[in-house]
Symmetry: D2
Subunit: 408 residues, 4 copies
């Protein structure tokens, strides 16, 4: 009896060739196609895998899971890698891995395989997630196997292999970069983008429109959060409203996309120690991120916000590095969730020409006290006390100046 | 002989009334007007102070000092308060205080006064800076003195006092908010902005144009940094170039202003414990901030960036809270400056319709290694090693799963 | 009708004089004596207060509360101020304040008073706690009132005032330092200790014996924790065992005291900006602190320990500075408590001649895996993987070396 | 021509067998014995290696280098891993690696080898240091090579191999644990210590005496630091004084050893993800660590100490994990060194019965101001200001209480 392998299958050239190669190696291969909201024909992919020789093809419907258990928690935790990247790929990987593990366990499969490269983050994310959830699992990562790498030294070799074995290949020429899409974002890297001084062409972007197509009027959105999680979205411009998690993000992706919101072009640090250049578009979640941050500053105490920000930065690293399922992420998640207890309210966002700006906000129960801060009323504040406050705070400074003479 | 007081004078209603009140109280008053690049007629203000009764009026030309010793260091340190505010006012205060202290020391004056309110941050920033640089200094803060506050309970009282004493008052009605301008930014607060759910009107903004006036073509800028500091700016669109620190920021403010770059509308935490709502426009420095961050990720090692980011967040708090001159800021400044040793290179920025986006970059000597990261060449990387890397990293996760069963 | 004041009364000279002075000022004074486990005759103090003129004297029995809700949580959170101080006084203050607030609320009293000095931390701790729990409360702090300070410029003035008004004064001459005792520790400061280069005399210590009296045999203790909290203590030497929270600490104080455990002599940073010198003895909690830390390293994942340690350091500052009742302490407490979920087990401590050393430990469910770490068996570990682990980790270092040439 | 390998040789059974095995594999082997101050006969080891077949044996005299460039900087940086471990082994490894690299480069050797196991930290420390300093270096780690591990499955196999090949073997039976010694400390692990609940026997300790041998009188030491580095040590008891770096530590090791100072018994987290149990004795550096920390609190501003402590904790991790030569350690080192600019003064230490306690201290220029903190004189402090200080700090707490009702 053949050993069974569960392959994370996308329908593309790489994983199709890997499927075939695994079959050649004598494995029985079950394919799992994860629907994390990417724009793809899953039925076509399913048939393709079966035709190549997969013994079974599972299409895992994890879009809802992805939104509810990964994307929205990330928004509520305020995750931002290296101050800019919203972690669209990093969040999808553990979601897909969880589906792989569930599928493998249900079928008694002890080995998984994937098409992630040996230089990237995704191999780490897939495998750490799988090891965490299923410590006994084995992994076959062809792009780290010398034999495989020597046989397939470039795209040409894969194409030749595919054609020689009757695997359908897309007629349209491949873009000179690679791309990874899901319901949250599309990322672009490699190819011409490998030179960080080459400007990414406008034609690259798929989720967000270019300036020429931007509407001439802003869209005004009211986004409501309860305990840090988005629960409803009202388009103040056309009065449409949505309360379904998936639908909210669908709307935000569309509106943000129309206005060109959420593009970044960055050099980032991979966990394996390389610097890489990535271009990302994350229209909907960029809007949610900004709205959530705005509301947090109204609802959270100053010092709690600082503690929470520290944990959030650490968590962003954990997630980027593939440790979504880990003791530290588990702990951080609980702490960050605890911080959101009072983050409830509504933020008004102006979405316009690439910008997503909070312009007004109201908290259910916040710490903003209009009377207290007002220039016109006392609100219980005794200005004279500030003199003592400053004086006591100045003691350290005066002592230092007297002892060491300079702040240079 | 009367005691001398040095008053930080702006030419506006508040400090004019304070000047008169100090004279009434029997002080001799020297006025210092600090030119930190705000758009104002300093000669008019000078004459006004003399007319009211100042014994001397000093116009301190600190714009260059502000740019070179406060703004650009802040850019190189990556200072951002509560993830959004670029600290335009916070940086100007210690610069003005240093001018006050220098002026006071030169004249043997032992007491300074200012018009900052008792609920705000600026009183703290002015005074902590002054105490740090001149520990023996005395401070008169009228807005914290009960007698003064009771006499002047609102703008009406100040106006009446001014008119009764022949102090010229602006004919145009005051905007329903207060504003503070310098070469880096303009801040708006109070008045109608005190309700954080009221949208700030477009007419409020002075440095940045509204969408209706935005150009239809992007401006492409090449900004060069050496050791983290901006040293030149080339407008790739019209080929103009500047190398003078003040001129660079002037250009960036104009271009950023034309494209509406750098507006934020936030609720923030004041050092005195209140939450306040502020609207800011910081066109030029927003561009510099984004360009600098982009370059840092190319030049800095991953872990150095993390250490530096931690210090940068702490430093932003120090500066916001008025501790620019303090042991901790002094120490952080040295550490942050040390981190910039290798941050040299050029970033290409697209300035367009409210956005300032890095789109390309080249470092003088960076850690980005195109060969190493390339999908097409090995560049010395052994993919097989990544398997061991992942496996060893998975040990903790597997052990935790075995011991405690879940990552919930 | 006179205004009522609730005075935190100790029975000593200072608060006795304050009581009298408040009466003189026309207040009706209720005294609260908090029993936080200090060695004192509360009945004598009660009668003394009544004799001076208190309208009521409440002896608040908060020793159990102190142990269960302050000391043990502090142990489980691993609180250590500036790497050395176990926070004995800092923890008692909010406990006393909570008793004051409860007492005041029950009696409709709107004003509290205390004898803490104007240069110290305790005024801050008392008052911030009281303001937090009872925002409308008023505070009378005589040692900050000019009139009071001028009248009582030193101990002599207080003695004279006491004697003139028939207040009993201790016959024994006061030690040349001040001291504050509770069930957790005794602190000593001021007087001859103000010169940090003067060695504290052996006679100063009350809870811990000097070397001449130390037993010649160690005491071996087994301390059991559940979820980070001490739940039982077994004296392996004499087989006594205790499970009562107060009794456990009583035993540990006695054993630690006999062996001279837990003395420190430090210069510390007060919240008001001064450096002060303090001598502390904390026999029982020093033992608990070391035992708990030992167990944590067995039970907590490495990265969770780091996150927890960061929060613990922050929390120690909060507590020292008087913010036990604050949003940030509340949040930190929850996060730190969350970290203790798996910290259960037993630590064997050797208590001997000033030392409290963990020498063995067993966790209920820990992450220590004897097979995995063994030099003799594989335990599922693949040594070859470590090569890949190291190689991938070396990439950043090699790149840095190639780019910048040095690690100096 | 044979390929040359440079082997880190200790003279013990493991590296002797590795030497022979490398020769069998066809390499020419140069041995490097690093004198990091361990108590060993280097001449015997040299001859042994030559006899086995080494083509050259280099005894690298790095004790002075170890003290001056690793141990004392670690003291001045305050390095302490997981709050307890002074990093004695972690510091020696990069020192030895630097010697290996220097030796290899001088001889044109491109490959190094060592006897560190595949489960431990030392392989990582040796190799990361070597890769960092000499990116082109190759590493042969026999304990990670399947063939080697299968051939030598335990100590018996090594002994048999040694005896069969005429390698001298110690007559005395090996202790049931492994040990690693250098001038700073001795570490013990493995064998019977693998059960963390087994108490380490008194006979294990080599550098520190047991209680039965402890002197009955304390030794009082005055330790002088300049810019954070120990520069002299005076034994106040016998008046001896030393100013030589190596001699100072020699003295401290002897005195600390006599008094049994610096023993710890801990479970720690290895970088490779395992928890291990280690017993350490570090007599001299424990004294220096405590003295230095004491002085720092006198010399450093409160907030600088906090920043420095954060960096110190991070640096301890870097060093433990093998990143002494890395961008992050290089950066941290500079920042931490910067923090020591004013850490100059003398600390009086009482060394007695396992304890090393600071009991007095004087700074050259510190921030301790006896007048300011005194209970008897004002020293320029205005107690009334503390009221304002507290009141303003209470604002956040009151607002939180009003909004959310509880600090639970």
């Amino acid at each position: 009896m053949k050993e069974k392998v569960l392959l994370a299958y996308s329908g593309g050239l790489d994983t199709s060739c890997i499927l075939l190669w695994l079959l050649e190696k004598g494995y029985e291969v079950v394919c799992l196609i994860a629907d994390v909201g990417q724009d793809e024909d899953f039925e076509v992919a399913r048939k393709k895998a079966l035709k190549i020789g997969a013994s079974e093809v599972v299409v895992a419907q994890v879009k809802q899971d992805f939104v509810v258990n990964y994307i929205y928690p990330a928004v509520s935790m305020g995750l931002l890698y290296e101050r800019r990247y919203l972690l669209g790929t990093s969040l999808a990987r553990p979601c897909i891995s969880a589906a792989l593990v569930e599928c493998a366990k249900a079928r008694g499969i002890k080995c998984i395989s994937h098409g992630a490269t040996g230089k990237g983050n995704d191999q780490v994310r897939f495998e750490l997630s799988a090891y965490a959830l299923y410590p006994e699992i084995q992994v076959i990562a062809p792009w780290r196997i010398v034999e495989f790498c020597e046989r397939f030294q470039g795209r040409e070799d894969l194409l030749a292999y595919a054609q020689a074995n009757g695997i359908a290949v897309e007629a349209t020429p491949k873009a000179p970069w690679s791309m990874d899409a899901n319901f949250m974002h599309i990322s672009y890297e490699s190819g011409i983008l490998e030179d960080p001084n080459v400007i990414a062409p406008e034609s690259l972007y798929k989720m967000t429109k270019g300036a020429a197509l931007w509407p001439d009027k802003p869209t005004i959105l009211e986004i409501e959060f309860i305990k840090g999680l988005p629960v409803s979205m009202t388009n103040a411009t056309d009065k449409t409203k949505s309360k379904d998690p998936v639908e909210i993000l669908e709307f935000l992706n569309r509106i943000g996309g129309d206005h060109g919101v959420g593009r970044i072009d960055i050099v980032e640090n991979r966990f394996v120690g390389l610097k890489s250049r990535g271009v990302y578009e994350t229209p909907g979640v960029k809007i949610l991120y900004e709205a959530h941050l705005d509301l947090e500053l109204v609802c959270l105490d100053r010092e709690v916000f600082r503690l929470k920000s520290y944990l959030s930065d650490r968590m962003a690293d954990f997630v980027y590095n593939g440790f979504w399922f880990s003791p530290e992420a588990s702990y951080s998640r609980k702490c960050l969730q605890e911080s959101q207890e009072n983050v409830s309210g509504t933020v008004t966002m102006e979405i316009f020409k690439g910008n997503a700006r909070p312009i007004a906000r109201r908290a259910v129960r916040g710490l903003y006290n209009e009377e207290l801060v007002s220039m016109n009323v006392h609100g219980g504040y005794t200005p004279a006390s500030a003199g003592g406050f400053i004086e006591i705070h100045s003691i350290r400074l005066k002592e230092f100046k007297k002892a060491f003479g300079t702040f240079k």
